[in-house]
């Protein structure tokens, strides 16, 4: 495959025609090998519109926007391979499960649904996410959970099983963000610096401890108590079931809880004539 890029098209060598699709009842399988993302996602949307409930994408190799803007609570998309950027962006209901790694922007501005990644994921996960669940088994990158927000009965939840880089939960306005530090390939601390910088809503749980210098000045640091475990416990159970982890081991270490000091962090910043 040649690597030259054009201004307005895919990398040369991609197949820009509809992929091969096999449908059996409400189950379908798409061979995504070298298929241009637009054609692959077009096929997924058409299948969903035709009432297909279970779609398996094979040989996925970095195609973007999987599940982008797709609605339907009972739709299930299974990804075999490496999912590309902005997977499940604007998604509204379906479940996407990746057997492999995902890249940046998983669950970006997501409304509802569930994402399960049996591997690592990249930066800016769950940006502006408003509802649904994102479960990542291993390590994640920078600015994870940025500006997650809750609204009425929509409360987004993200659990990352590995370690995270800087700006974890930056600008967080609602929802629950959890970091376990368990399935990591990295030595070093659980999380980088600037945790919860600008946070003004929601809650962050970290399995283990965090130094005050690692946290933004907008957060208060507490140890999670029994009351916290009443909401965190069921989330962790669901996570463990989805990713084949041992719940007892997960809760064998105390969790640190970070919450914002104020819902109006900049309320006193301005003056006027």
């Amino acid at each position: 495959m040649t690597q030259s890029t054009q201004n307005n098209g895919p990398i040369e060598g991609y197949i820009k025609t509809p992929p091969s699709v096999t449908v059996e009842g409400d189950t379908a399988r798409i061979d995504a090998q070298s298929v241009y993302y637009r054609n692959m996602n077009d096929s997924v949307r058409k299948l969903v519109a035709d009432g297909v409930k279970n779609i398996t994408l094979d040989h996925v190799n970095g195609q973007r926007y999987i599940g982008n803007g797709v609605s339907g609570k009972d739709v299930r998309i299974e990804v075999n391979g490496t999912a590309g950027n902005d997977m499940a962006m604007f998604m509204n209901g379906p479940t996407v499960e990746v057997f492999g790694n995902a890249q940046d922007g998983v669950g970006n501005t997501m409304n509802a649904g569930k994402v399960i990644v049996h591997g690592d994921a990249g930066d800016v996960l769950g940006y502006g996410m408003r509802g649904g669940k994102v479960f990542i088994k291993k390590d994640v990158g920078y600015r994870v959970g940025i500006h997650m927000k809750a609204y009425e009965n929509l409360i987004p939840v993200m659990v990352c099983g590995g370690k995270a880089r800087d700006f974890f939960g930056e600008y967080m306005a609602g929802g629950m963000l959890v970091l376990l530090g368990m399935n990591s390939q990295f030595e070093g601390p659980l999380v980088g610096g600037y945790v919860g910088t600008g946070m003004h809503g929601g809650v962050i749980y970290l399995r283990g401890e965090v130094e005050p210098w690692q946290c933004g000045r907008e957060v208060g640091i507490f140890t999670a108590d029994e009351e916290d475990m009443k909401t965190l416990g069921p989330v962790l159970k669901e996570y463990c079931d989805a990713l084949d982890m041992d719940y007892d081991e997960v809760v064998s270490v105390p969790f640190t809880k970070l919450v914002p000091i104020s819902h109006r962090p900049y309320g006193k910043m301005y003056t006027y004539l």
Partner: protein, 503 residues
């Protein structure tokens, strides 16, 4: 010490001989200037000269005057700078303000004049001859292949792809102003007018209220860094989608809609809790490069069935290179917001000192895109103090496809430019969420006034085109030969691509 050193900017004078003692001024003022004790008693310090009371006084007995404090004159220390220092010494706060830049920067529009036909080339009378203002917003192909359609016309050859465009009846759209910064009745007025006029309004980043769904084909839905109210449904309702990167009044900074402006309806439309601050981060954290921007543009296209996606930026120093990147990233239009553009709230220091004039930006961007051979790939919307149809015509001659009006639209609805939008107490019921104030704008009345304004400007534009001897606004676009500069230096003329008058 007194609690403030700042003396009132205005004096409210009531001619009590004429006064009916009816108390209407007390009721009309959103700033709480008046108390009533047998007759209205004004507190000058609260007056913002919005003229609501003056307009509604049945006796015409109220006069707002400048409070000439006769501070020692010193051009190096204008009164507003002295007042800001006093206020900041009292509070330690960042000075906040509303509406556009009020510093006396040069208006280049006022130094540009248009051409007209005389003797050679006849001018055209738009009252009797067709004069096309229709404009298509979006990407145009490098070439098209057509074939006969069998009925004497042409159709696109099979396999020939053309990007979706939005048809506008005139080269004007309403600027993005979010529900939250302005009232729902303002949004209704704008959307009803847009539908009647065959143009577009823009949600700003506050989501789309359900009451606007009937007008959705005339709405641009905006996606900004806070992603407020952005759902697949929202993206699919709009006629086009706009990624807001920057705003002319506050380039490079985010927004804080204060918790007290977030009532139940605003909270539902933005899909955020009531009472907490709505914080828009300064950047989109999924855009750190042109490649990232391309990723978001195509993500929005994927989610919306390939609707036109535009990108709004503030005009800053390297605007031409930035716009080129935006077009190459796949944007269907570039929205340029000049440094005089309005705002519901911005730090004064940012509003008044960051960014470049829209006239310069249009010329620089248009030229750059032409030089690179990609001008056809995106439309240009120009905004940031388009004050009249003359500004509109000059902006189009400099290279814009469409202009956007925000401040002018609010003025059509009663705004007097008092610059108090950020207080949430707008007496004209525009930039407030207080129900006793917002009900002052009847959407039907508002839509009619906006429709009148755009019709008037459209007629004036047709007159200008007629005088120029062209019969379509297309023929004016980028036609800088039809502009001349009066009183501009050589370098500025060169950047604008305009000759001085007499050449």
């Amino acid at each position: 010490m007194p609690h403030t050193l700042i003396q009132p900017e205005y004096r409210v004078e009531i001619d009590y001989d004429k006064c009916h003692k009816c108390g209407r001024c007390v009721q009309q003022c959103g700033w709480g200037v008046y108390s009533f004790n047998e007759r209205p008693i004004p507190d000058d310090s609260k007056c913002r000269a919005c003229h609501r009371c003056v307009t509604y006084c049945p006796a015409h007995c109220i006069t707002i005057k400048k409070n000439d404090l006769a501070l020692k004159e010193n051009p190096n220390w204008p009164t507003d700078l002295r007042k800001a220092i006093w206020r900041q010494a009292e509070t330690g706060g960042v000075m906040l303000t509303g509406m556009g830049n009020d510093k006396p920067y040069t208006s280049y529009f006022d130094h540009l004049v248009l051409d007209a036909c005389q003797v050679t080339n006849p001018s055209i009378d738009p009252l009797r001859e067709p004069m096309e203002l229709r404009t298509f917003l979006g990407r145009k192909p490098d070439s098209v292949q057509v074939e006969a359609n069998g009925t004497g016309g042409f159709k696109l050859k099979e396999g020939s792809e053309v990007s979706n465009n939005v048809e506008l009846a005139a080269p004007i759209v309403f600027s993005p102003m979010s529900y939250g910064s302005v009232s729902l009745n303002v949004h209704k007025s704008l959307s009803m007018a847009a539908q009647r006029l065959g143009i577009l309004m823009n949600t700003g980043e506050g989501g789309l209220h359900a009451d606007l769904y009937p007008y959705q084909d005339n709405v641009i839905v905006q996606v900004a860094s806070g992603r407020f109210g952005v759902t697949p449904e929202y993206l699919n309702r709009g006629a086009a989608i706009e990624i807001k990167v920057g705003q002319g009044a506050k380039p490079g900074i985010g927004g804080h809609l204060p918790g007290e402006k977030i009532n139940k309806e605003v909270s539902q439309t933005r899909m955020i809790p009531q009472g907490s601050d709505a914080i828009s981060p300064a950047p989109h954290h999924d855009i750190y490069s042109i490649e990232d921007l391309r990723q978001l543009i195509y993500s929005l296209k994927e989610a919306s069935g390939y609707k036109p996606v535009g990108v709004k930026i503030a005009t800053v120093h390297n605007v031409a290179a930035i716009a080129s990147g935006i077009v190459r990233a796949g944007a269907d239009y570039v929205y340029l917001d000049g440094f005089k553009g309005g705002t519901g709230a911005a730090p004064q220091i940012i509003r008044d000192h960051i960014g470049i004039p829209i006239e310069i930006a249009i010329a620089a961007v248009d030229q750059r895109l032409r030089d690179e051979g990609i001008r056809n790939q995106a439309s240009i919307i120009a905004a940031g103090s388009i004050r009249s149809s003359a500004d509109m015509a000059k902006a189009i001659a400099l290279g814009a496809d469409v202009v956007a009006i925000g401040s002018a639209a609010l003025m059509a609805l009663g705004c007097h430019l008092c610059q108090g939008c950020h207080t949430g107490c707008c007496s004209w019921g525009l930039t407030t969420q207080k129900p006793e104030l917002t009900r002052r704008v009847d959407p039907e009345w508002g839509a009619e006034r906006l429709t009148n304004l755009v019709h008037a400007w459209s007629h004036e534009l047709q007159e200008i085109l007629g005088a120029l001897g062209v019969n379509a606004v297309e023929s004016l676009r980028g036609s800088r030969e039809r502009l001349r500069a009066v009183g501009l230096d050589e370098q500025t003329c060169k950047i604008l691509g305009v000759k001085p008058a007499g050449m």
